[in-house]
Symmetry: C2
Subunit: 190 residues, 2 copies
Amino acid sequence: MKELKEKILKFGNPINENVLKVDSFINHQVDANLMNLIGKEFAEYYKDRNITKVVTIESSGIAPATFTALHLNVPLVIMKKTTSKVLSDDLVQATITSYTKGTTFELTMSKKFVNKDDNVVVIDDFLANGQAAMGAIKLVEKMGANVESIGILIEKSFQPGRKELIDAGYEVYSLARIKRMSKGEVEFEE
Amino acid sequence: MKELKEKILKFGNPINENVLKVDSFINHQVDANLMNLIGKEFAEYYKDRNITKVVTIESSGIAPATFTALHLNVPLVIMKKTTSKVLSDDLVQATITSYTKGTTFELTMSKKFVNKDDNVVVIDDFLANGQAAMGAIKLVEKMGANVESIGILIEKSFQPGRKELIDAGYEVYSLARIKRMSKGEVEFEE
């Protein structure tokens, strides 16, 4: 997606080969116009796929996912990050390890909001090792629903997430795919 | 705001005199069309107030605040909840105690995204004791910026937050003001 790639080149801050800071337009300060365009782009891409729900993970995915839900005219479900396992018949949980931050959390969702008739697209800001996306898929599938696709804003294509999701049979649609990075430089896939 | 009050009456779940669950349309499952209407309502209300930034607190405020920012055509800044104090010249922090959850967190914002020329509206989903709003105000004012107003989706008018903010000299604009609640019942202010 042209507008997102331009923003990354202009305002993204690649601080080393693995970390791209996008805190001036995606995950701390947020460019709402860009989020709206991103939502329109995803909605256009998924419009004939009978999507019934958009699912995301708090909190960086919320802004683009809300606009995707708006333009697809379906509800958004936000999966929560909690620090501990909760024993409750109303919830489903999956343990996620973030390699980037070296932390573990319990991805948590109420059973009320996804059911076996749902056809879900999972939206997230980054795809790196794929742990968050895999956790989201696990919770959606625990409810008997179908994961139609994974929609990503920025994919670090040199990390294993994309391949693992595709090898597991999922579609990944990324708006910007980064082939390699170094301090101050970003190169996109063709 | 009529649409929000109707949703609260139809889908809100007042479980006792103090707790209103809105997890089916605001903070777990999200009604994106309602969030867009809310954003339009805030933008209409604040349109002649020279707002330069919308500020919110992760994560329930993000969806309505992003739409408010879109319709005001200004950036959104998301204040983060972190568990520990961070010593950094790039950040400002304020300690917030949540009476509802019995927890404490450090509200955190990068200094990059708010400065002395900013005129800010703080958007949040709930106003109860006002701790979160007061923390957000503190961080905005630490940067030398002006807090023009506090925009709230649901105000529990029987709790002290509104009065404390107004006594401290701030404007509070709430889209739904709840006078009293009991299990299964919600009564709005006139």
